[in-house]
């Protein structure tokens, strides 16, 4: 499809209010936000945050996410351990939700973001439309990984029956929350326009 980009007209668009202004402007004339034609250092930032997220994902899986103290004996459980336990108890749908939110979503998000960065930097995307869709999905599902952290927070607040039954949060909860936040910022700092720029360069 034939298109005219703002960049080719010497304009840049404000990321807060979509105001078009000359690319020499440093501040948006409408909302005062700082203006850039493309997000500055987009690929470097995204990759750095992705690596951080991957590193945080290791302790998030190895350390216990919550500890159940029942009548004097304490039993730590990891994310995968919790899923396995739910499957054994027969609650397959809940096990599915936890597995998708805490294992599938983060891993596919890492893979998708690395792939998008690689496409924007090296290999021109064969289909920028599909890549844009992939980016939008990645951006949308980001916060849903937090489900597991909230489940821990709710169980900790709800289940505290003195010495009989107490649930305590584990160190993995913080690592996991950190991982989710870092990858959310990573998705936000990626600039999908780079994919289209790359495709335009190849077509010319």
């Amino acid at each position: 499809m034939k298109r005219t980009t703002a960049a080719s007209c010497g304009m840049s668009s404000c990321h807060v209010c979509y105001k078009l202004a000359s690319q020499s402007a440093h501040q948006c004339p409408r909302c005062g936000a700082s203006m850039h034609q493309r997000k500055p250092g987009s690929l470097q930032r995204t990759l750095a945050l992705l690596v951080t997220g991957c590193l945080l994902y290791i302790p998030a899986n190895l350390l216990p996410i919550m500890i159940t103290d029942q009548l004097g004996s304490s039993e730590p459980s990891t994310i995968i351990g919790g899923v396995v336990l739910l499957v054994q108890l027969g609650s397959i749908p809940v096990a599915g939700v936890i597995f998708i939110a805490s294992v599938m979503v983060p891993i596919s998000k890492f893979a998708a973001m690395y792939y998008l960065c690689w496409c924007a930097a090296k290999e021109a995307p064969s289909n920028a439309l599909k890549m844009s869709k992939l980016y939008r999905i990645t951006e949308f599902i980001g916060k849903w990984s937090m489900v597991d952290v909230f489940v821990v927070a709710i169980l900790v607040a709800l289940v505290s029956l003195g010495g009989v039954l107490v649930i305590r949060p584990g160190a993995a909860a913080m690592a996991f929350a950190g991982m989710v936040m870092v990858t959310m910022v990573a998705a936000e700092s990626f600039d999908p326009r780079l994919l289209w720029d790359k495709m335009d360069d190849v077509n010319e």
Partner: protein, 219 residues
């Protein structure tokens, strides 16, 4: 704006003030022919651009007000209670964050509190501060600040995610004990609905065009 056009432009293309650059592919799109209820989607990358509703401002104000009222209710009453072997424990909404704090995880407590309570309520207050002057057509001095803060914070509220978390944890422990849903739970569900509706009716382009109209020659 015409003066900024450069030589390599196709002759038939004229950049007007109604043009918008798609935030995800940078294509220029004319949005001048939108009528009430229309949604504009980028023809190149199929990304959402803007939805034009003539009563958008009033909708946001009413949803945000209802959301704030429901949020007060959902903090004031028990959220869930848990009964097992003759003992009972009651959980309140702020309790989710406070209990993490008492277990020594201050950082996680702050994050959870911010994501489910503090940022959502802040956004609702900012939306009211932003939209009420727009409705009354007063160029209040905080208008631009409130608008920018709303868009900076909107990705960081996890009201809907928290509700899914509540359902998952209920299913997890329902076999262990008796669970009673409190008034706060239902108030929070209502809050989540109003909150989501307020944010989906907040349209980036339309609200900033309204700011431009209200503030007039200031820009």
């Amino acid at each position: 704006m015409q003066g900024d056009l450069q030589g390599e432009e196709p002759a038939e293309f004229k950049l007007s003030s109604q043009h918008l650059a798609c935030p995800s592919c940078d294509s220029l799109i004319d949005t001048s022919e939108l009528v009430d209820g229309d949604t504009a989607t980028c023809p190149v990358c199929r990304g959402f651009l803007t939805k034009f509703t003539s009563d958008g401002v009033s909708r946001v104000i009413s949803y945000a007000t209802s959301a704030l009222i429901l949020l007060v209710f959902s903090c004031a009453f028990p959220f869930l209670s848990f009964k097992a072997s003759g003992l009972e424990s009651v959980m309140t909404l702020p309790g989710t964050a406070i209990m993490l704090y008492t277990h020594g995880m201050t950082d996680l407590a702050l994050l959870v509190g911010a994501f489910i309570l503090f940022i959502p309520s802040l956004i609702m207050v900012l939306l009211l501060l932003f939209y009420i002057p727009l409705k009354l057509e007063i160029a209040s001095p905080w208008l631009v600040f409130a608008g920018r803060s709303v868009f900076a914070l909107q990705h960081w509220c996890m009201v809907d995610v928290f509700l899914i978390g509540v359902i998952v944890s209920l299913v997890k422990i329902v076999s262990m004990a008796t669970i009673i849903l409190g008034i706060s739970f239902f108030a929070y569900v209502g809050f989540a609905i109003c909150f989501t509706l307020a944010l989906t009716n907040t349209d980036r382009l339309q609200c900033w065009l309204a700011v431009e109209r209200v503030a007039g020659n200031q820009f």
